[in-house]
């Protein structure tokens, strides 16, 4: 490899591109497959030297708001999240298209088709379209780098935020990436119109008109984008539109020598002229995209007849799950010879709690405390502790969206369920649980909230948790009676004691919070190893 070629994950390529493009502020809430973007920026010596702010935020909404603030003062900024994070941040995100960007602003969404570590497989390109801003969808790690770098320029050219969309395989695959000469950061320069960011109706209407007025220019930009490529082929019986990573699967099948014309799309709004040109040349137009049939649906809006279009909507490609080279081969009618089937003796090996995990002891205590009640009264949330749904625990009955446990338990108790329990992780609690707890306090809902405090955001790899050392003061501050804030230590030899505490609070006709507190075994091990290493180095 040439010296300036780095072996990077797609996530890391994006982070390095942000550094090289002169970013000043990076904000994120962890979420697979996006977390390595901010982790890279936090660990990067170069970023530190350049004084780049790289911070975890309480949730995705505060992250996007932080980016809007950084952009307001004229600095370049990047914010990263997993796909469902954009639901949380949607209010800020959609409105940021109206305020516009002063310094370059990129919102990265890492979508997870096949739900490798997610609760749905939503395609966030729809959010980009909804917000009326350009979407960049790199097909590989080099493009992830190049398009992030370019995204800042595009953002500053049109004064709007850009949505950079990747999917799991781009995010979590490593390849050699060439990087560019670094650009300096922007100086502070406030918007020339100091009313630009005030979205009062009268002003917001102007901003909306302005956003609509640049749409043709954005389409033009896509028509001429170096990332949207028309690759001709002699055989016009089929034309292929392939977006993002789908392009790789197509080229993998043709080994670079495609017989059919291909339009690769990596920049949106969709390049209408390029599509029409292809459409008019071919007998069948096959649309291959990772995620929902986004382009395929759009085609109906401007092709007067779309009878030639085939893809996910026509059943040529599956609606569910991520793509792979074999699925694409089948869609293109190419030979597809798979290896032998998985032998029938093979069983699944689902993820499980780490040995020694504090959640194990918490669930054992909770199950025992609840054993005299009928099942089905524990609302829970998203994190390692969701594994409490699996045998032998089968201790929880819901996992919907971050923070839902508390609001759901409250409403269930409103409806008469006694006792009603919420089980939520410390990071999930500060992400979106605090507001639900406030609702419960205001109406003195008889619920028992168990905040599992392992001092980290465990599920996503052990990032720091905003809740750290703050849970008691947060709960007290929200108005929970301090007598009903109970800290327990989830350990085997405290089991009886813990069961007793939970039973007492289940019986209480008001809001109680129980906080089982013991560090995550993974972060504990990591800390010990680092300490050990440090000692060795100091010798």
């Amino acid at each position: 490899m040439t010296p300036n070629k780095l072996l990077l994950l797609g996530d890391e390529a994006i982070a390095q591109a942000a550094i090289d493009a002169g970013v000043s502020g990076a904000y994120a809430y962890p979420g697979t497959p996006s977390s390595e973007i901010l982790e890279y920026l936090i660990d990067s010596k170069e970023a530190k030297q350049k004084g780049i702010i790289a911070q975890w935020t309480a949730n995705e909404k505060t992250a996007v708001e932080a980016a809007i603030g950084a952009s307001y003062v004229g600095k370049r900024t990047i914010v990263a999240m997993k796909h469902v994070g954009l639901n949380v941040a949607a209010d800020a995100f959609i409105n940021s298209a109206l305020t516009g960007a002063n310094g370059g602003m990129i919102v990265v969404t890492a979508d997870d088709p096949s739900m490798h570590s997610s609760q749905n497989e939503q395609d966030n390109r729809f959010y980009g379209d909804f917000a009326h801003i350009p979407i960049l969808e790199p097909s590989n790690q080099q493009e992830a780098y190049d398009m992030c770098f370019y995204g800042f320029q595009l953002s500053e050219k049109f004064h709007i935020p850009i949505l950079l969309r990747i999917t799991t395989r781009v995010a979590h695959s490593r390849a050699g990436v060439l990087h560019k000469d670094p650009l300096p950061q922007n100086q502070i320069s406030l918007p020339t119109d100091l009313k630009q960011y005030i979205l009062l109706p009268a002003l917001a209407r102007k901003r909306w008109s302005k956003l609509l007025s640049i749409q043709p220019a954005l389409i033009d930009e896509s028509e001429n984008s170096p990332f949207n490529k028309f690759i001709d082929g002699n055989d016009k019986s089929i034309g292929i539109i392939a977006s993002g990573i789908a392009f790789n699967y197509v080229m993998e099948n043709f080994q670079g020598a495609n017989p059919y014309p291909i339009l690769k799309i990596s920049q949106y709004p969709i390049p209408e002229k390029l599509i029409k040109k292809l459409y008019n040349e071919v007998d069948r137009l096959i649309v291959i995209e990772e995620g929902y049939p986004f382009i395929e649906k759009m085609l109906t809006s401007f092709l007067c007849d779309n009878l030639k279009v085939e893809g996910k909507l026509t059943g040529l490609l599956p609606r569910e799950g991520e793509l792979n080279p074999n699925i694409v081969a089948q869609a293109l009618g190419l030979p597809n010879i798979e290896g032998k089937d998985v032998p029938s003796i093979v069983v699944a090996r689902p993820p499980s709690f780490c040995p020694g995990c504090s959640h194990i002891d918490s669930y054992n205590a909770l199950n025992e405390a609840l054993k005299d009640y009928s099942k089905g009264r524990v609302f829970s949330d998203i994190g390692c502790y969701t594994l409490g749904a699996t045998p032998p625990f089968e201790a929880i009955n819901s996992c919907v969206d971050m923070g839902a446990s508390i609001s759901m338990a409250k409403a269930a108790s409103d409806m008469g369920l006694r006792p009603a329990v919420a089980v939520i992780g410390d990071s999930t609690f500060t992400h979106s649980g605090m507001t639900g707890l406030l609702d419960a306090v205001v109406y003195n809902a008889p619920i028992t909230v168990i905040i599992l405090d392992n001092s980290t955001t465990g599920m996503t790899g052990g990032q720091p948790s905003h809740a750290n050392q703050r849970l008691v003061s947060i709960c007290t501050g929200l108005g929970v009676n301090p007598e009903h804030i109970r800290i327990i230590k989830p350990l085997k030899n405290r089991h009886q004691e813990n069961v007793q505490v939970i039973k007492e609070e289940l019986a209480y006709e008001g809001v109680s919070v129980i906080i089982p507190t013991r560090e995550c075994v993974q972060t504990l091990n990591r800390r010990m190893r680092a300490k050990f290493k440090e000692k060795g180095e100091n010798k």
Binding site: M1, L7, L9, T32, P33, S35, E36, H116, S117, N140, R169, V170, H172, S173, R174, A175, G176, I245, N248, Y249, M251, E252, N253, G256, N324, P325, N326, A329, N336, I337, E338, G339, K340, D341, V342, P343, I345, V346, V347, A348, R349, P350, P351, S352, F353, C354, C384, L387, M459, T460, G461
Partner: protein, 195 residues
């Protein structure tokens, strides 16, 4: 030259360190590589797989095409079987024989071995046992790379150089024990194929 390798194992076993070693050897030879990893949910004692692709020409897909893998290199015998649809008919299975039994319904081990033995091109090796004999239980991964070395498209020396570089920060002792583990695996495979 093209090598598509499925690396398989259980979360926490360290398939990424295998990918790192082979990847480093590839980079030192100026080859293109792509390596799809798994993060998140699947790491907690669950099944993990990484697609490692090495080529002297451009690599498009991050994922290996089913039926095209040159090798399944696996730290766990049951996990080996999970990825058989990826293996090309002339591909190799290099599999650890030591089971990782963190599930209650782990199948009869002999049946698992029999499925692997159905493939002519296979090496079934107890990498953990060999590593333990070297007093280096953490080097089972290197034993396994050794067992695979004949079919990876590298000279053994090139892989040793990569191991040396990978562990150089940890001191000469660690480097040596890992190279020793690699050589044991290499020698074992040579004998195994003959038998």
């Amino acid at each position: 030259m093209k090598k598509d390798i499925i690396l398989a194992g259980v979360g926490g076993q360290g398939i990424l360190s295998i990918a790192a070693t082979i990847g480093l050897a590839a980079i030192k030879k100026n080859l293109n590589i792509k390596q799809a990893e798994v993060h998140g949910m699947s790491q907690r004692g669950g099944e993990v797989v990484s697609h490692l692709r090495i080529s002297d020409s451009q690599i498009f897909s991050d994922l290996i095409t089913k039926g095209q893998a040159d090798m399944i290199l696996s730290l766990e015998p049951l996990e080996t079987l999970r990825y058989l649809p990826y293996l090309h008919e002339s591909g190799w299975i290099i599999s650890n024989s030591e089971p990782y039994t963190n599930i209650p319904n782990y199948p009869d081990l002999e049946l698992v071995y029999n499925e692997i033995r159905k493939y002519k091109n296979h090496v079934l090796i107890n990498a953990d046992e060999i590593a333990k004999k070297l007093n280096a239980p953490l080097s089972a991964n290197m034993v396994l790379i050794g067992a695979a070395a004949h079919y990876l498209g590298f000279e053994p020396q090139e892989i040793e150089d990569a191991i040396r570089e990978q562990f150089s920060k940890k001191g000469e002792d660690i480097v040596n024990v890992n190279i020793q583990a690699f050589r044991e695996g290499l020698a074992f495979a040579k004998e195994y194929i003959k038998a």
